[in-house]
Symmetry: C2
């Protein structure tokens, strides 16, 4: 305690703008926020409905519209100053029939079905499927090196695992996900007819993980299917012994874009209504699971921030706005539409806080901003640390969230909630991203953490 | 990053004894420890056997002996300098037939069976059971206030919930568990015939939580049974409307003490063999679940510390010893026997590290010691913080572990691994404390955290 206290003094005396102003009242307010969140919040109940009654809700799907109307309805019950739906055009991708990726063995032994999922935005193979020899690679560069002679007519199998030695699993994801996002176009450039991608998880298990791919303009769109890590290991072992053909079939297709909606609610600021503090998550979720951690949790936490402020009867100085973004997963239609309209209205987001890293036990926040304002904004925010440390929250530099990133040019602070990351990629984009895997206390603690910083930023600015 | 860096400098210049000596080599060694733990450890496989093939293993039971011989066997495979079993006498309590706690309704409606578990060490009701009126209380004090006139002949129902607003759930447990441990004797003092205890969890669910009770000498031993939190809420609501009788039946009994064993292994120190660094967990676990988080996880993590040191070919200066203690749950026979023999041999435990808070994502360590050595030892240990912070580990003051606490008089530092606590009391002492609830990475990260501090303490002392 002594050393921690000295650190606190040093922090205050050297850098703090705000810590000197913070009072016992802030300590009491944050305690009140946590008490409310842990004993009387609605977020877990909202999540149950969103996940078990609505479920997977990819942009453009009927379920995504159910999610829009359900969350709007819930926001209407908590007594905000305004709620609204904001138009945004979204791609409408459909998975089609259950996809297949089978290792072709022989006429005697038939074929071995791998656990697979078409990647989001993938083209289909057509109903008859396709069969081709498999070439395993560990990177996009390797495809370039192998060149057309080795790739043409083949199925390219991207099999570089997520690095298990990364302590933060998102770093491991960042180091492997280029295969899923850009692998199809890279392979097609050299004449491949299809792509298999190792699932994005450090676990060895049987669950395939979907997720978006991006086709480069002017390159043929070829089908891309993820396979489980266990099947990736198997396929790789077989390829070391002999040539392997795989049969792929999916009837995925990109349909016409659809109109969809961001869901918005706000409490108007009493002193600085033009300074907006945004909290958000994304409402869409992959079709295969219930979208519980990704990102039902973030949505209901963001909603809970405003609910908590109302419940403890807090009147903010600045405008506190919740935004549930549509189409983060395969297009960012909602985030882009929101930023565009906000810029047109010449709005200023003093801070935007996104929760899109799962409903796990919160460990802090990471911050980003335009380079010319970053140091000042980060310092102001970092100075709140002594009030947050008793709740296990650390403030670091780093990414924030995909949906709020387009607001960066407004020169506010972009903040991402950082929950413990260890379990996230056990569930991410799979059929097991379900309500049961979210712990009520952990979800509520995340909401309380977000509400606490909204309160502090509202009180002291940045 | 800038601020963190300044903090680092301040820490080094003002207080550090060791940080100046620490080198890039320490950074590399800790990285190597994590790499080994996250890619090539055995702890998860050991845990699977201990939980799914052996399961619940209360002291004195055949399963507890299977656990002793299994873990000894595994220690024998990792190439230690010595392994052994240490005798310790343990109580041998047996749950008997499946217990019952039924709300007596009427001849028309029969009775309502509550989800219940006899508390560890509880007496039985006899095979015919007993029926009595229920008195609800919120504390032991309330029993005293009600006195003999209100308590005699009744079943006392302790129903004070764990406080959900505590951020660390162990604090909430500490604030409620006196009802379970001492409630029976307090009620018996005033003539009660039995005790019901609300389960120790903040969740509302149907799982009863067992756990030990302690009977005071000279007070009649009355049966004590825990009921789930949902049933506690129901019973409490009914009691507000009318008088309620409950039927209790359990055939639990305390049998003759048995001989059992602590399991010990060590790597002899090359320079200071008489300075012991102990790592441990407890091998016994309640009979109703698999003892996965409590404390299979701690046992396999402690074993993994020595396994990792061998695997990375580290030759310690000091003696590194793993101890798997028997009978933590209902007697502490193992911990007391170990400390007694250690004191008789005039051993010195420079540090003892226990993992007994679940196999969740590690967040740091808490430390305790005799008051006259605490400041010095804590300071030395705290100075390692900059090497541990990149792994999300904080050093704080606080409790360590029940099994190592008897070593306090040797004036070393007692250290408890502190995993994230939010989910622990979802599983603690229930039938759902199972292997599936332990995440492999989280378990391995805990082992790596422990190995890292063993390495640092071995290198620099305290």
């Amino acid at each position: 305690m002594r050393l921690i206290f000295i650190f606190f003094l040093v922090t205050v005396s050297s850098f703090n703008l705000h810590a000197q102003e913070t009072t016992d009242n802030d300590v009491r307010m944050i305690r009140a926020i946590y008490d409310q969140s842990l004993t009387n919040s609605s977020c877990y109940t909202w999540l149950e409905y969103l996940t078990t009654s609505i479920g997977g809700r990819l942009a453009g799907s009927p379920a995504s519209m159910a999610a829009v109307f359900y969350t709007k309805q819930m926001l209407d019950t908590i007594g905000l100053d305004a709620t609204s739906l904001q138009d945004c055009e979204v791609p409408h991708w459909n998975r089609g029939i259950k996809e297949e990726a089978r290792i072709v063995l022989s006429s005697q032994y038939g074929s071995y079905p791998m656990n697979c999922l078409a990647l989001g935005n993938s083209e289909g193979t057509g109903e008859l499927g396709l069969t081709a020899e498999v070439v395993e690679v560990k990177s996009l560069d390797e495809v370039e090196k192998l060149g057309k002679s080795k790739i043409e007519g083949k199925i390219v199998f991207y099999n570089r695992p997520m690095d298990p030695t990364q302590i933060r699993t998102f770093n491991a994801y960042g180091g492997a996900v280029d295969q899923r996002v850009y692998g199809a176009s890279k392979a097609a450039e050299f004449g491949a007819v299809g792509v298999l991608v190792r699932s994005m998880t450090t676990r060895l298990d049987d669950y395939p993980h979907t997720g978006t791919l991006v086709y480069n303009d002017g390159i043929k769109k070829i089908p891309a299917i993820s396979i489980s890590t266990n099947d990736s290991e198997l396929l790789s072992r077989l390829l070391k012994r002999e040539k392997i053909k795989v049969f792929l079939r999916n009837t995925s297709e990109m349909l016409s874009p659809k109109m969809s909606y961001n869901v918005i609610g706000e409490i108007k600021g009493s002193e600085f209504p033009d300074e907006i503090i945004l909290v958000g998550g994304h409402l869409d979720a992959w079709d295969v699971g219930q979208g519980a951690h990704d990102d039902g949790a973030g949505c209901v936490q963001a909603m809970e921030v405003l609910n908590t402020l109302k419940k403890i009867n807090y009147k903010p100085k600045r405008t506190i706005r919740v935004v549930l973004f549509m189409n983060e997963e395969n297009g960012l239609g909602g985030g882009l539409a929101y930023a565009k309209e906000s810029n047109e209205k010449k709005e200023y987001h003093l801070a935007a806080i996104e929760s899109d890293s799962g409903g796990f036990s919160p460990r802090g926040f990471s911050c980003d901003a335009e380079v010319e304002v970053f140091n000042e904004k980060f310092k102001s925010f970092y100075d709140f640390s002594p009030l947050l440390e008793p709740y296990g929250l650390m403030i670091t530099k780093g990414g924030s969230g995909a949906d709020i990133n387009p607001l960066k040019s407004q020169k506010g602070l972009l903040i991402g909630l950082r929950p413990d990351s260890q379990r996230y990629f056990d569930y991410h984009h799979t059929e097991i991203d379900t309500f049961e895997t979210v712990n009520q206390r952990e979800l509520e603690l995340g909401a309380a953490a977000m509400t606490s910083i909204v309160y502090l930023i509202d009180q002291y600015g940045l």
